[in-house]
């Protein structure tokens, strides 16, 4: 058995000995160093740009301005074509739309030379009025994308003449009538900010022309195949001229589902013919990247006195920033992956959204992808409802959460075919000691300890869209080579996909050599995002192995001289059922390399019409110091139903890591800009992610269900796990001191000021 085992990650040895496996480690030594000149203004037009002095500096190889790039708009969002994100970017534009927007690309032999050259570029700007507040963006007289060649490929309400990236509404039942009939309506507004993924390896890529004159891009990306399309579009060259290779990635969390940096070295290589490399500084990664969409969420939650939740009305206003990357799609999850949690007694729902352009950093994909924002609002409203009804929020949830076998109208009408959410709640309560600790206890040192709860769901891939594939061949010696199109970004998909292959092929995980990703050789996979890899690519592994087993059996039968129907696959050999003779896998493989007409390999693709949600319950226990307002999570219990657990170690670490990021979002991480639109939380000093002393402990358990459409019963885990901390901690703070923080993060200032009121 390989599935369900705590198998070490296949790349563990290399990663834990500091081997050169990341982009910067393997970049050619003679790469040009590419640096960007950034806009100092939130909204401006370049009137003049003079690069003549900069070009004369020693070492400078190439300076690119808006005059030198194709006038072809594209989106950096790594999504399946045709992308929902509007085509609203040029590699460099005369029109600058946020502080940090690139003004020029400079390539020199050394970083120092490139930075010196940037200082010599003279630019005259016309400063335009900036729209910094998302609430003022829609139909503002100031247009952020007035250009004529802006275009939306998909009809999602996008309109550049209204600063709209998307708008829409989904509803079932008569929401106003149901709310009017409810005994209690919680009517509240919540907000979340543009959190940074803060993966330890910042954005980076190098480019070169390969032996055949094609553009090779080696990038730290989650979406190699999308990068191929995006860069070809941006450079206005045929896709066939682009090859993308993904080595090891130092974390992604969605940040690298956007082609944030690849186009800059790419255009340098195309212009100079020379290899070029870009490595974002942490400051660039914090100011010109792809953070979470900041949202304002207005919830109306209607319930009866007995606690049955009858109606949920949600409006999400999402700030996409200067460009539309992931704008139309993230917002959808804010409702479609929050409202369905309360399907059981729900009579009506309405979910409406606006996604707007502003003159702030463009947002992107971040683990949770809108569900995190929506769940903070809906789960907080449920907690507020519990207090209004004087009910235990855990009991309120137990009454109302979706059950296995129920249809979820707010989740595109999908069925909850695997759902163990009730058990998640029950076990999380036991782990934290809910019944003894709810709501709060005064401690001897004057501090207050309190508990709070949040629930979550997510999807497993994008239904009807996401596609995963692997190819597996029987290799010399009787082992297997598996080529993967999905991108292991540290979470271990190379390993868990190998576990699934080993399970299907009845061999050791060591017998599966994995390789990925190279768009020239890997089978097409849309990439690792949307919690898709285990569920979607995992099924591709299962299908591929089925086909491969058939081929091995036929080849074995041929060697045994028996009928293929009598031949049985035994993992290390093929056996003839009639006379018990066997032929080993090694013999089959070896004979296949001599005068043979049939290749023993298979490549199957998979897509799913459904996206089965994993479910989770999280309970936070906090310690609040009433003198300072400082809140610390002393214990966090998370219980997740991700279907079958493929690798308990890796699933556990993902869950612990996701919870920690969620705690950071709730308490510590405070993205903010000044009144001119400049991001001031631009370093790890100002943008504080959790360290190992900031949180007491995080404990994780599984409450598995069996998902009938997933590989070995598995669903996803990667994103769901970030969603529970914000609402759980916000309610724990309320339970501790009566302060309800509806605008994240929950800073000591907000807690203290609230206590003073």
């Amino acid at each position: 058995m390989a599935v369900g085992q705590r198998v070490r990650k296949k790349d563990a040895g290399a990663l834990l000995s500091g081997k050169p496996v990341y982009v910067e480690d393997i970049a050619p030594r003679d790469c040009l160093c590419v640096k960007l000149m950034h806009s100092p203004h939130a909204h401006a037009m370049i009137e003049e740009i003079d690069t003549s002095r900069a070009e004369k500096l020693p070492g400078v190889a190439c300076i690119v301005t808006y005059k030198d790039v194709p006038n072809v708009r594209f989106t950096q969002a790594g999504q399946t074509y045709p992308e929902f994100s509007p085509y609203d970017r040029l590699i460099l534009d005369r029109h600058l739309r946020c502080v940090g927007d690139p003004v020029a690309i400079v390539a020199a032999q050394t970083e120092k030379q490139a930075l010196a050259a940037i200082r010599l570029i003279k630019v005259k700007y016309t400063i335009l009025p900036a729209v910094l507040d998302a609430r003022e963006a829609k139909d503002n007289a100031v247009l952020i994308h007035p250009e004529d060649n802006w275009r939306a490929l998909v009809d999602c309400g996008a309109n550049n003449k209204r600063n709209l990236v998307a708008e829409g509404c989904d509803a079932e039942g008569d929401i106003e009538a149901e709310l009017a009939a409810c005994d209690v309506v919680i009517d509240r507004e919540y907000s979340t900010l543009a959190n940074q993924q803060t993966m330890m390896e910042t954005f980076r890529a190098f480019t070169r022309l390969d032996t055949y004159g094609r553009l090779e891009i080696v990038s730290s990306t989650q979406v190699p195949f999308h990068v191929r399309r995006i860069i070809a579009t941006a450079l206005d060259i045929p896709k066939s001229r682009v090859r993308v290779v993904k080595p090891r990635i130092g974390g992604g969390f969605g940040a690298k589902q956007t082609a944030v940096c690849e186009q800059y070295p790419a255009i340098v290589t195309m212009k100079t013919g020379l290899p070029a490399k870009i490595v974002y500084t942490r400051e660039e990664s914090m100011t010109l990247s792809s953070p979470r969409h900041a949202m304002r969420l207005h919830v109306r939650l209607g319930a009866m006195k007995d606690g049955t939740i009858r109606a949920i009305d949600l409006h999400s206003l999402s700030n996409s920033g200067a460009y539309g990357e992931h704008g139309p799609t993230t917002v959808g999850l804010s409702g479609h992956k929050s409202i369905p949690v309360y399907t059981h007694n729900l009579k009506a729902f309405r979910f409406a959204w606006d996604v707007v352009y502003t003159n702030t950093m463009s947002a992107g994909a971040y683990r949770g992808y809108g569900a995190t924002q929506g769940l903070f609002a809906v789960e907080s409203a449920v907690n507020e409802l519990a207090h209004a009804l004087n009910m235990d929020p855990a009991k309120l949830r137990e009454m109302n959460v979706v059950r296995e076998g129920e249809k979820m109208p707010a989740y595109y009408g999908e069925m909850a075919n695997s759902c163990n959410l009730g058990r998640c709640i029950e076990r999380a309560k036991e782990m934290i000691g809910w019944d003894e600790k709810y709501p709060a206890r005064a401690m001897a040192n004057g501090h207050i300890r309190a508990v709070g709860m949040g629930l979550a769901m997510q999807g497993s891939g994008i239904s009807g869209v996401d596609t995963g594939a692997v190819s597996i061949r029987l290799a010399d010696g009787g082992t297997y080579n598996m080529t993967i199109g999905a991108t292991d970004m540290g979470t271990g998909c190379d390993t868990i996909l190998a576990q699934m292959a080993a399970q299907s092929l009845e061999c050791s995980v060591d017998n599966i050599a994995v390789y990925g990703v190279d768009t020239d050789t890997s089978p097409y996979d849309c990439g690792s995002y949307a919690s898709s890899t285990t569920y979607v690519t995992g099924m591709a592994v299962v299908k591929t192995c089925e086909v491969l087993r058939g081929k091995i059996v036929r080849a074995g039968a041929k060697l045994l001289g028996c009928d293929a129907d009598d031949a049985i696959f035994e993992g290390d050999c093929v056996r003839c059922a009639k006379d018990e003779r066997t032929v080993s896998l090694a013999e089959i493989a070896n004979s296949n390399m001599m005068m043979n007409g049939e290749d023993i390999s298979a490549c199957e693709s998979h897509g799913s019409p459904v996206s089965p949600p994993p479910f989770m319950a999280g309970c936070a226990e906090i310690d609040l110091d009433p003198l300072t307002g400082v809140v610390k999570v002393v214990d966090y219990a998370g219980v997740i139903d991700c279907g079958t657990v493929v690798n308990p170690n890796l699933a556990r670490v993902q869950t612990e890591g996701g919870i920690m990021q969620g705690i950071g979002m709730a308490l510590l991480e405070y993205p903010r800009m000044d009144e001119t639109g400049r991001t001031v939380s631009n370093s790890l000093m100002q943008y504080k992610i959790p360290t190992r002393v900031d949180v007491g402990r995080v404990r994780v358990e599984f409450a598995p269900s069996y998902e009938p459409t997933g590989p070995f019963g598995a669903k996803s885990i990667g994103e769901c796990v970030i969603n529970t901390p914000s609402p759980a901690i916000a309610d724990a703070v309320y339970n501790a001191c009566g302060v309800r923080v509806r605008d994240l993060p929950i800073t000591p200032e907000k807690v203290l000021l609230g206590m003073d009121e």
Binding site: R6, R8, A14, M200, R248, E656, L684, R692
Partner: protein, 162 residues
């Protein structure tokens, strides 16, 4: 440009640097891939190396200051580093791996200074080593097991067996 002579992982080396280069930059230039840069503000700990037996942030040490000193990186740490790596791998604690070398160098320094460290003491010692993937709990378990093995001499036994 100037020349810096120092000892790297037990071998005498010589590097050409500019006066304002960091030890980090010099080591990368010498092909040391284990040292990483995660910030420009001395917050992340990814570039941790040992200088004369003490953990330092190589981004914050001017390269010329290494002249005549003894520098060790993960590449040179031998069997104890391997044992620590095994503890981390058994927990799946490396995840993306980018922070691992810096963390490991600091854990190895801790093992020398205070192998009897409690979890709380170890967390405090390692607080400057950021990790965004793991949420630290698996690293805490791995460090516990490693330090216990240091105290019990388990890793030395392995060396004998090997």
């Amino acid at each position: 440009m100037m020349t810096v002579d120092f000892t790297l992982n037990g071998k005498r080396v010589s590097a050409m640097v500019e006066a304002d280069d960091s030890l980090y930059k010099m080591l990368r230039g010498l092909g040391i891939s284990s040292v990483k840069c995660g910030c420009e503000t001395t917050n992340c700990g990814l570039c941790t190396v040992h200088m004369d037996g003490k953990a330092v942030l190589s981004c914050s040490v001017p390269a010329p200051r290494a002249a005549g000193h003894d520098i060790w990186t993960l590449e040179g740490m031998g069997r104890l580093a391997k044992a620590l790596g095994d503890c981390l791998a058994d927990e799946g604690a490396e995840q993306c791996g980018f922070c691992a070398p810096g963390l490991m160098m600091n854990v190895l320094a801790l093992a020398k200074e205070n192998p009897n460290a409690t979890d709380e003491e170890a967390d405090a010692y390692l607080a400057g080593n950021l990790c965004r993937c793991s949420g630290y709990m698996s690293q805490r378990r791995a460090v516990r097991r490693f330090l216990d093995g240091v105290v019990s001499g388990e890793w030395e036994k392995e060396e004998v067996q090997a």
